[in-house]
């Protein structure tokens, strides 16, 4: 029996590589004008309009609690669709799409604990959609 492979889209936050499962509506886009939302979690950067859809922009660094002072030169996000809503993860740089046969679970982490290893044995944590939505908790 052959193991069922999962497909992930790689992206970079700083120098770290992360992965998002391939879903409907996945697309790397670049945007300029973002509408800010008052009195909302810092994990939500704002809203953009793209291809007839309202996309909620998630601050991935806040989400992953990464303290990097370096600001993005350009605003780039990786979009995905969940429950009819469109979200965009702010990323620094896009990466390849690859299929992974085996994933692991980091017991020390409560959220975003799944990961896989690349060919050069580097750990790449997977940003699970449920974990993301549970963290931002915007549309209940």
């Amino acid at each position: 029996m052959t193991a069922r492979s999962e497909k992930f889209i790689l992206f970079y936050i700083g120098d770290e590589q992360y992965a998002l499962p391939v879903l409907i509506g996945n697309q790397f886009i670049e945007f300029e004008n973002m509408t800010l939302i008052p009195k909302i979690s810092q994990k939500i950067k704002g809203l953009i309009y793209h291809n007839g859809n309202i996309v909620t922009i998630i601050d991935t660094k806040e989400l992953l609690n990464i303290k990097i002072l370096q600001k993005n030169k350009q605003l780039m996000c990786l979009t995905f669709e969940a429950d009819g809503y469109y979200y965009g993860l702010l990323v620094d740089q896009g990466g390849e799409t690859l299929a992974v046969n085996k994933t692991f679970n980091d017991r020390h982490k409560k959220v975003f604990s799944k990961y896989f290893r690349t060919k050069d044995k580097k750990k790449v944590y997977i940003l699970d959609i449920d974990d993301i939505l549970s963290q931002i908790n915007i549309y209940d």
């Binding site: 497909k7 889209i9 391939v22 409907i24 996945n26 790397f28 896009g94 390849e96 690859l98």
Partner: protein, 380 residues
Amino acid sequence: MKVFETKIYLRFLSWFIAVAFLPLAALFLSIYLFNSALLQSVLIESRDTVLFAIFISLALILLLSLIATKLLSKSIIKPIKISVWELSKVVGDLFKTVQNLSAISQNNGELSDSLLRSSQAQKTGLKTGSKAVFDMVNSLNQVAQKTKLAATKTRNVDKLASDSGDRSKEALDSLVVVRQLLTENQKLSHALDGYAEDVKNISSRVVILAETAKFLSLNVSIEASKTSFGNDFSDLVSQIRELNIISEQAAESIGTLVANMQRQIEQSGDFSKHQAQETDKTIKVVSQNIHFLSKIAANMLQISQNVQAIDQETQETRQDSEDIGTMIKKLDTEAKSLVGHVDTVTQTINQQVAIIRSLNKSSTALNAVTTTLNDLVGEK
């Protein structure tokens, strides 16, 4: 005058008595020698008469001699007295004259000594003056030589200043040309700046193109992973990835090229601007230099003229010094001649002294004569 006090009177008287007695004695002697008997007989017979006659004769002779002496002495003593008086007067005058001559001679001697000393001092002074004039002439010759040298050098400096002025003008012209070239260069830099801006725009478009290609590549990859297509689509994805890589490299190269070009253009512009400023400064400095050189040339001309005037004055002064030297030589000759004259004057004074001594002797002799004559005529 007493008769018996006069020696000549007595001599005349003695002589007359002798003259009167000698014939009488001769008479008696001849009578006695030839006829002594007669003499004896006369003396015996008429002794008293003979004695009386003799006495009368003697008395008469004495009286006549007295009268003759008196008459003769009067005729002789008077001119002698006059002569003695005149001689006394002449002796007095002669004595005074001798004294005066002695005083004059002494003065002349002192004058001669003074003249001798003066002429010797003059001679020494003239020697010193001659030496000083010789030194002065030598110094003036040296001054003249140095002045000529200075005049030559001044002329050279003047020529150099003129040449420098011409060269500075040429340099100024060249700098003006350089300034024009720099202006052209600045215009070119501006034009290049415009082109660089255009290239920058093109580069930004290429960057956008690369970005688009990048997103296209990423998203095509995602889409490819969602559905399973054939090998052709995989090739397409690969080509798009390749396009992405190439466009990224191209965008990066163009960006680098544009940045370098812009930097070089800016540097060139800055350099041109700086060079233009420096050229302006250099033009200003060269203009000032030309101005200064003109002034220096004018001053050097003035100095050259002054040096020439000094040279001329030095030559004239040298001529004057030579004239002074000639005059000093003449004066030296004159001083030598004066020394000779002084010697002559000294000799004359010596002769004069000898004459005065002789005159003194003559005066003494005259005094003795006068005394003798006075003694003779009985005068004191």
